[in-house]
Each structure stands twice: as C-alpha cells, then as structure tokens.
C-alpha cells in the first residue's frame, strides 16, 4: 500500500490502463504475445515515489493496473523511477536488470518477456484514424505519424551509437564491453586462484602444526 490518496492513484491507473489496452488492440503481434502471458502478475515498487502498483495480464490480452493486490506476484521488482525507465528502454533487459539497482523477487523470465513485448509493440495507427477520418485523410495522417516515429527512432539509435562511439573511441572514457568482460573474467580467475592458494596454505599449516604436536 502506498501513502497516496487511493482515488487519485486509481484515476491515474485507470487512464494508463485504458491507454495501454487501446494500444494493445492496435498492435496485433503484441496482442498475441500478451495472450500467452495471461495470468502473469507483476508487482512494481517505485521507491522514489513511494508507490506500489500491480500489473495483471488477464485473458483477452487485457492489462489491469491495480493499486492493491493480495495475490502473490509472479515477479516483484523494486527500484527507482530512473531504474525502471532504463529497463523499459533497454535493448538488453536481462543485462539492465542485473546491472541496475532493481531488486527482483520471483521469476525474471516473465518480467523480461513482458519488457520485450512492450518494447517491441508496433502500433498500427492507421486503423483508428481511417475509421474516424476516412480512407484518404486517415492514411495521410498515419503516413506522417509513421515518418515522425521512424525518424525519431532512427535519431535515437543514431544518437546512442554516436555517444557510445565518442565515449569508447574518442574520449577513451569507458572501456569497450568485450575488454571489460575479459578483465572481469581475469579478476574472477585470479580470485579463484587466490582462494585455492589460501586453502592450500591453510592445509599445509594445519599439517605442520599437527607434526609439531607429535
């Protein structure tokens, strides 16, 4: 339970729920994938907002957003708003989940699957626009919207790639991912070797001590 007024929170959740369900109806692929996830209950605690809410996937590929739930969630995640924003936008949700400050209880597979479905939602704007505005006008506006989304998606990816290249190549501010992974492997191997050596030393010392007592 949160400290927020339940009516206010219900208003926000109701609006988000309606928008989400409308978007799912306009994205046939996601609709099928969500149907397969039916029965999943996800608990989300946003620590920075002192807010807990639940996402339930019900038959018919509908999403219910709840303020209060007494069922045991399939997965329960706790983190800041920044952590969740990064997770939703992530291309590699498993890595983001491990490396971010998000705490997870329960099944990570259902959470990752859900994130992938949401991130991959391809909404067909044309159908509702054509229905309301007619074939010609609806198609034109849908084309314009597609161009805007396509351009902004391209710009986002390009910015991300260029930023990454600058940090790695030009600024040498962060090491490349492979180099970092190689370094971590080296650290892990060294750590294991040290542990083995320590165990060997302890065994030899114990043996020496027992000889002295004899």
């Amino acid at each position: 339970m949160t400290r927020h007024d339940p009516a206010l929170l219900s208003a926000a959740l109701l609006g988000a729920e309606r928008a989400l369900n409308q978007a799912i109806l306009l994205a046939p692929t996601s609709h099928r994938e969500l149907e397969a996830l039916s029965g999943t209950l996800l608990g989300i605690e946003v620590t920075s907002l002192e807010l807990t809410l639940y996402v339930e996937l019900v038959p018919g590929a509908e999403v219910r957003l709840l303020n209060h739930c007494e069922e045991k969630p399939t997965a329960f995640v706790r983190g800041s708003i920044e952590d969740f924003t990064a997770l939703i936008a992530s291309d590699d949700p498993a890595a983001t989940l491990i490396n971010s400050g998000i705490e997870l209880q329960g099944s990570s597979a259902s959470l990752i699957h859900l994130q992938q479905v949401i991130a991959g939602m391809d909404i067909d704007w044309e159908a509702p626009l054509v229905e309301r505005l007619g074939d010609v006008m609806g198609h034109q506006i849908a084309e314009a919207l597609r161009s805007v989304f396509s351009w902004s998606e391209g710009a986002r990816k390009s910015l991300k790639r260029q930023l990454s290249e600058y940090l790695l190549e030009e600024g040498r501010l962060t090491p490349p991912k492979l180099e970092l992974e190689h370094f971590f492997e080296g650290v892990q191997t060294l750590s294991m070797q040290v542990e083995r050596a320590q165990a060997k030393v302890e065994r030899l010392m114990a043996k020496a001590a027992s000889r002295r007592t004899q």
């Binding site: 007024d5 339940p6 009516a7 206010l8 219900s10 208003a11 109701l14 709840l66 303020n67 209060h68 739930c69 007494e70 069922e71």
Partner: protein, 257 residues
C-alpha cells in the same frame, strides 16, 4: 456518534433522518421514498455530484475485496448494480454475486442495467433488509455496502447480520461518505453539499428534498474512527480504513475471525 450508531439501545425510540428526528419504525419507509424518487436518475446524479469520482472510489473498493474466481460476493444496497457487474466478471461462471437492496425501484433499475451489460448468469437479485439478511450463516466470502450503511436504521444490527452470513476469514467493505481530514476542505464540502447539491437534484431529478436528505444523512453518519469502533463492537477483526479524496469518502474493511 449519532443515535443510529448505538442501534437499539436508543432510549427514545427515535432516529435520525437527515437532520430531523423520526420514529425508528418510520425511517425505512422514508428512506425508501427517497430512493424511489431518485432511482431512475441515480447513476447520472452520482456522476454529476461527484464529477465521476465515485467510480474511482468503487474501483479501489473492488481491489480491496480481493475477489477471486468461484467466490460468493454479496453487494448490499447495491441498487443500480455497478459493483455487481464488475464482481460478476471477477468471480466468473463458478462464482456468484448477490445484488441486494431494500428498495424495489433501485433493484429494477439495477436488473435492467445488468441485462443491458450482459452481466447475467451468475448474479442473483434479492430484495433484502441489511438488518436481517436472508442468507445462511457462513455462506458469503465478501460483503460490500457502498453508500448504503448511512441509510440503515440500526447500523449495529446490520453489521451483526453481515458478520453472521460471512464465512470465517471473509471480509466486509463499507464504502461511505465520511469526515474530511482538512478543515478547509470540510468548509468547501459543506457549501457544496447544502448549496449546490439540492439545486442539482432539483434540476436533474426534479427532487431537491431527496438530495438535501442525502447531504444531511452524510453529516449524521459516524466518522471514520467511530465506524471502525462499531465494526469492532459487532465482532469484526483486523479492522482498518482508507481515506479517499481527503476523507470525503472512506472505505472500511473488517474480517470475520
């Protein structure tokens, strides 16, 4: 706390009807007259009076019910059936929803609405007095009473009757107008209730007196802690309440041990 709160212990055998005192035996029929008058436009008036917020209050109440497939839910004073329709989906074909109200006119509107929404098959409609529920002991998983308890003559008797029919572990949810937590909000709310509400009632339902009664009955209803005490006295355990919209409305929850 008003006289209703102590139920049948009231020595002068009168009770509140809004700000008036009436004979205890007369209150039920007077309340019935009020709801006969407003039944056909009850939902529309609720939407206008609350700006649609009553739907959010009810949504949270449904979440607190934790209703599951196969359960039996009793919605007392369920009138026009908006909670019953939602419970019908949640309990599914193996569950059962009982829509109960003392007022036949409200039940008729509720029945028609439920049929229009296609919510049939697992809903029973029963005309019943909350003080003497015509159901077996330990037969109900969850009881809700939304904006109905304040109209009941003897609240203590009604709460004991609800406890009797609940299964052990079952819960009661009372959604009702309550006392605003901020003095400023209380003043604004008073102005709205006694100046705006009767005018709206006159314009939309052609009945300002009934809506004046609704506003008065809200003021005479026990506040949050008093109602919680009444529920505990009736035998409910683990009682708690949540204020909504600054305490204008509160939802109380109690369990049968």
């Amino acid at each position: 706390m008003n006289d209703d709160a102590v139920g049948s212990n009231n020595p002068d055998d009168s009770t509140d009807f809004g700000f008036s005192r009436v004979d205890r035996t007369a209150k039920a029929s007077m309340v019935r007259e009020v709801f006969d008058s407003v039944a056909s436009r009850y939902d529309l008036m609720n939407d206008l009076m609350s700006g649609g917020i009553h739907r959010l209050w009810k949504r949270f109440t449904i979440e607190l019910s934790a209703a599951r497939a196969g359960q039996t839910i009793l919605d007392i004073a369920g009138g026009t059936g908006d909670l019953a329709a939602k419970f019908s989906r949640l309990v599914g074909p193996d569950g059962r929803v009982i829509l109960a109200d003392i007022n036949a006119a409200m039940l008729e509107v509720g029945r028609d609405r439920l049929i229009d929404k296609g919510a049939t098959g697992n809903i029973d409609i029963v005309q019943a007095d909350a003080q003497a529920l015509p159901f077996e002991d330990d037969s109900i998983d969850c009881i809700t009473i939304a904006f109905g308890l304040r109209n009941v003559t003897d609240k203590a008797t009604a709460l004991r009757s609800m406890l009797r029919v609940l299964r052990p572990g079952g819960r009661l949810l009372v959604l009702e107008f309550s006392k605003p937590t901020s003095p400023l909000l209380a003043k604004i709310y008073d102005q709205y209730s006694f100046q705006v509400l009767p005018v709206m009632g006159k314009l939309i339902a052609q009945d300002s007196d009934s809506y004046r009664y609704l506003a008065e009955s809200i003021r005479k209803h026990p506040d949050q802690d008093t109602l919680l005490g009444l529920m505990e006295e009736a035998g409910f355990v683990n009682g708690s309440y949540h204020n909504m919209t600054g305490g204008i409305v509160a939802v109380h929850r109690g369990f049968k041990a």
